[in-house]
Point group: C3
Chain length 301, copies 3
């Protein structure tokens, strides 16, 4: 297999990524979140540091009212309360009816009867983008019967036990499912790992970089999901997923250079989300997997 | 119209402000909060950094028990759960019956049926102080039928779409309403913006300063509400609102001088809440609007 | 009374402490938390900075599923919601049935009817370790009828009004109660204060050190409880309680040396949890109270 190729400097996707970064800073779009209690503060602060505006809600009437003025929404099923079992499907149906774009983070997919019921309910009214780790993507694709369930690994709580490469099939299958329901037929899946993977169901991109310290603070993944929603408020799903993933890797590297541990890393990371330039984000290494390689890997996954 | 006049250095209000800052640090008063999940940590940390003590509760039996040992309470309706619809009015009635002072932050007033029901229920058992942005103050005053509802702007989520000057009428009307129910007839309203506005219903003060980075972290407004409650535990409502607003502006300026972005700004802001002196807070520019000007502005708002 | 003696350098407990610190960093054990909304983020970040892995859940099906893959759990009753009244006893019974080790932080014990009902329900299915401040330990021991209730002080919200020395009897009585239910009969109680106290019901240890700034950030105590659970995933209860308490004191001292206030203290504290060495933790001053002294103090408390 030949090495995946870095996108040329003049590739149109790079200009779309730079434009998304600029547009968020210029327009400060509102992206609303229904998210977990552990990292809700970091999600909001990351969205603000990226240039957007944040609002968090849990009651369906609140979420649906606010969605009317938000560019995109973010739903994260990390910490569930009893009323979510009815509220989250109701919200997803309202988004579907309105054609409202949203990002799902299926945290800990595969654990807990309530979470499984909620995620299963999303199958018929799915998000525009799924942001997950490899294990969660595999669990979700299996739950939605998009891949052979025997391929699904055992859940490991909120941490992935699988490498990103093991989730290529799952990611593409999810993205194709989302695209069938999406406005204009466009959707994306972003898998976070040592190397991030982004796909629209056809093309598969890998974005290396970031910092190992991102796994030593809580919420790097959750807040990435929130920032994907911020970008989705101004860009198409593939661009939003690529831009947010690349921004996070560049910010992680900048933060690692000045950090003395996870505390100072998080502070420097938020500063870097604010300071990284559109050109730095758009100039990231973005490796596109050749179509043949995609097929090879799919059959070998 | 002549410029509003800065309060003289020897004005008694300045000494009351300095005394409030000192008293909080000396007495570490407990101010309890029923607040949103996004910024609950910053509210507590800001109250501690200002010198007070924090406790957060959501169950009526818990809140009412703790209120017996707290100097003042803070209620913020940012992120609602289903049981709040009954719990929050029950708590407000208990505070009213006990004559317990409390601060309301009507986050996102105007959005969501549940929030509107809760805020409407507070009309007859109102807080001692309202801390809000301009849009929220206008929405609340309209909801409570204290101003012409045609003056109310459309809500914009948790961000204000109105300037503070547009909310002078609303702020004064709310303060007068609160004063009618308040122990000793004293109440206040604090509106946050580029220039903060504080009124007891009669006198109107403007406090310039702060930092634009305060809008790039989540919870500057929420945590100000919490610190207003901390000061209300040791001071009268007008003094508490002025002291907290001035403290926040001084701390924001100190933090901006050393910040490299929103991450380091928040860290430096908490440090500054701890380090700003009572004299710096009390020496803030505090512009009092002349009575005639108040009328002018009111009719022109 | 002679001075309590510092454990010899070669004492086996010191090697067990060093090993626990090393094991957490090598094995990154998962410790799940059911904790309050104020400090939930700091609990997770402290567990990660100590080297562990974090997951937070609230629904019984979620908690019980995740407990199957977690080394120990942490339960903190700081901010209660209505459904906790049934959920928390159900979870405690499931832990008891499975022999699953867990740490309880009885925040604000003595305040609120719901909290009292929950804490009373834990009496028959108790945790392996209780982490509390002095007032909470006294309130819990009194509630569980393990000490003379006349010895119980009035609750003071989430802050202790009692010194650690006043809680020696309560701590030992609780530890003995826990041990009767614990797997292998081993349990511990850790009381936080200016000097921390740890007991397994028989032996009593005092660990001096730390920083006064630990009381000026919210969650030093809560996150200590979480880190105790992280250590409990790899060590016996006494070792876990000693290791976490010593780690916190060393990290607090390191953070105070570079902090300019509570904001920078918290950042430096998380960095220090990451950077403190196993040898520094195990080399802490650990004062063992002689058996006779224990009896003296008990009768004199």
């Amino acid at each position: 297999m030949s090495d995946p190729a870095n996108l040329p400097c003049t590739h149109p996707l790079r200009e779309r990524i730079a434009q998304a970064v600029r547009d968020v800073r210029a327009r400060t779009p509102l992206a609303q979140s229904f998210t977990n209690f552990v990292t809700i503060n970091l999600v909001a602060n990351a969205q603000l540091a990226a240039g957007g505006t944040a609002a968090m809600s849990f009651l369906p009437d609140d979420v649906i009212d606010t969605a009317a003025i938000s560019g995109a929404d973010y739903v994260n099923v990390g910490t569930l309360l009893p009323f979510y079992k009815d509220a989250l499907p109701q919200i997803a149906r309202a988004f579907a009816k309105a054609g409202h774009p949203w990002v799902l983070d299926p945290v800990a997919a595969g654990i807990g009867k309530t979470r499984t019921e909620i995620l299963n309910a999303f199958r018929a009214v799915p998000p525009t983008i799924v942001r997950a780790n490899a294990s969660e993507a595999i669990a979700l694709a299996s739950m939605w019967r998009l891949i052979d369930p025997d391929g699904a690994s055992r859940p490991a709580g909120v941490e992935s036990v699988d490498e990103v490469d093991a989730a290529v099939d799952a990611a593409r299958a999810i993205a194709r499912h989302l695209a069938r329901y999406a406005p204009q037929g466009r959707a994306a899946v972003a898998i976070s790992g040592k190397v991030d993977l982004v796909t629209d169901g056809e093309r598969v991109f890998r974005i290396p970089g970031g910092s190992a310290l991102m796994t030593k603070i809580t919420g790097a993944g959750c807040s990435l999901g929130g920032v994907v929603a911020t970008y989705l408020a101004v860009a198409d799903p593939l661009t939003a997923a690529l831009a947010a993933s690349a921004l996070y890797n560049r910010a992680g590297e900048a933060a690692e250079r000045v950090a003395h541990g996870p505390g100072s890393f998080q502070v420097a990371f938020l500063d870097a989300l604010w300071n990284v330039t559109p050109e730095q984000v758009a100039g990231s290494e973005i490796l596109e997997q050749a179509a043949a390689q995609s097929a090879d890997r799919s059959s070998g996954a």
